[in-house]
Symmetry: C2
Subunit: 310 residues, 2 copies
């Protein structure tokens, strides 16, 4: 069925999840971007932002524009679109803001056009937007944003995406208002790592996947470690270790840097614990005089949601 207009909510996502550096990501219920698309009688893409982030409106410089253009070219019929974006996910927060723009627009456009594409095909087009944002091909925010839940990107080149089983967890996010460039956070990473460190990391990845699959919260907790990115990237986030220890003392299963930061995520077994953890995270940054926003969310199991169609 074809539509006149489609509105979607494109969720924030936490990539890496400690040990799952570059391969795991999880979708949240909130925050989310709201994206509306409708047909235009004129070919081309007209973008309007109703948020205050001053993002470029030129479709070749706008993440959603680039992703939609890639999809539109694949269709090859030169359709025109009007797009309205309200970003609820602040750019540069480390919770998949660019991925939400790219994934949201392609899911919305696909719905508008009567679903010509599979989710994996949509991921391919959304990736063009992500490349504009970060300069590299990564699907660990895009894939959970499109598929929902906890997602493994087994292989980026072939887009081998695996929906992993999940146990119910609640995610506390705190976003301190400091800026970390993804490209700089990536430069900090070592080019090589000791084999024994790599073995520790993949043992924890195996534990995390098994823990989620079996609902073994103890195992999830013991596996939520990052030996690779956290030791270098956490230095860019003042208060990181205090946030972590306060969260653990508050009952969190574990957590770390969301994506390349500066947001920090913590997983908890219940909403009640996650709310308490959120308050503790918030309090650490307040104590440091750093403005911050905190969220608590369950796992979003469906990814980008169609909230209105006409």
């Amino acid at each position: 069925m074809k539509h006149q207009s489609i509105t979607v909510h494109a969720p924030a996502t936490v990539s890496n999840l400690c040990c799952g550096f570059d391969i795991l990501g999880m979708a949240l219920e909130e925050p989310f971007d709201k994206i509306r698309i409708e047909h235009s009688e004129h070919p081309g893409i007209l973008i309007r932002h109703t948020d205050a982030y001053n993002l470029p409106l030129d479709p070749q410089l706008n993440i959603a524009g680039v992703a939609l253009d890639a999809m539109n070219k694949a269709l090859g019929i030169g359709s025109g679109f009007r797009v309205e974006i309200h970003k609820g996910i602040k750019p540069g927060s480390g919770i998949g803001s660019s991925a939400a723009s790219a994934a949201g627009i392609v899911v919305a456009a696909n719905e508008l056009l009567g679903k010509p594409f599979s989710k994996t095909e949509l991921l391919k087009y959304a990736m063009e937007g992500e490349v504009l944002a970060s300069g590299s091909r990564h699907a660990d925010n895009l894939a959970p944003c499109i598929f929902g839940g906890l997602v493994l990107v087994r292989d980026t080149a072939s887009l081998d995406i695996v929906a992993l089983k999940t146990a119910p967890v609640f995610i506390s996010i705190v976003h301190p208002q400091i800026e970390i460039k993804t490209s700089y956070a990536r430069q900090l990473l070592p080019k090589e790592i000791p084999l024994f460190v790599a073995v520790t990391q993949w043992a924890n990845v195996a534990g995390l996947v098994a823990g989620f699959s079996n609902g073994d919260y103890g195992l999830i907790s013991r596996s939520l470690h990052d030996e690779v990115a956290e030791p270098v990237r956490s230095k860019l986030i003042p208060g990181f270790s205090e946030v972590k220890s306060a969260s653990m003392a508050g009952g969190a299963l574990g957590g770390g840097i969301s994506g390349s930061g500066p947001s920090i995520f913590m997983l908890s077994e219940t909403r009640q614990i996650a709310e308490a953890v959120s308050k503790r995270m918030n309090a650490v940054f307040n104590g440091l005089g750093i403005e911050n926003f905190a969220y608590v969310s369950p796992i979003n199991t469906e990814g980008v949601k169609i909230v209105e169609s006409a």
Copy 2:
């Protein structure tokens, strides 16, 4: 209940399983060692071997002796034992021969004594035997030998052992009669690996764990790669790549070096395919004039088995 004598079968195990280097292992139904233990009126450990491998009989130099001694010291009552070992798993084959000796004897002795120890405690004592054998602390053969099934060693220091869910697979093993010292195979490994290689490896580990958990044979197959040990260690095994390509052409899901070699393992979805794969593996080494032994086995889900008690 205490016994006069106990006889066990201690199974062969495949460690590493490609991407799960140093952290995964799987127990087989065959081959296995047969180990009999009985009380002796004299303190100390008397070992007799009924196989032809000329293994040391001094309990301080015999793997089973060292493991049993560690357990006996923990009990602190200076018991005496007579042990008879028939190794069905050839030492140095890469399918957990030393682990079977160490695991088999402690499970047997524990049963003889009325089960004073948990499996994790037994693993700790068996580890002493494994240290004698390989010079390093590894549980990726011992843990599946004791626990059965597919096992994750999430952390060796704390012996955090996770029984993973498995889909039914059949394992084809070929053991070419060439010698590879575990210590030499270990020396060959790089001390550091590129981060992107590590990421590929842990993506495959996550895929393998999820594939086994969900019975997704396609995912198991796509995940059975080893970017770390196989590239260097496979050079020690003449015919390795021919065995692998012949096996894949015969319908195997995938496979690689078992432990540090020289045995090669392949996983298949049915016994029929595994038998055909086994013949192909066998034929490659026959063609190279290398004597070899081949086995086909399902997963052993219970580990060391008590087969006789008196």
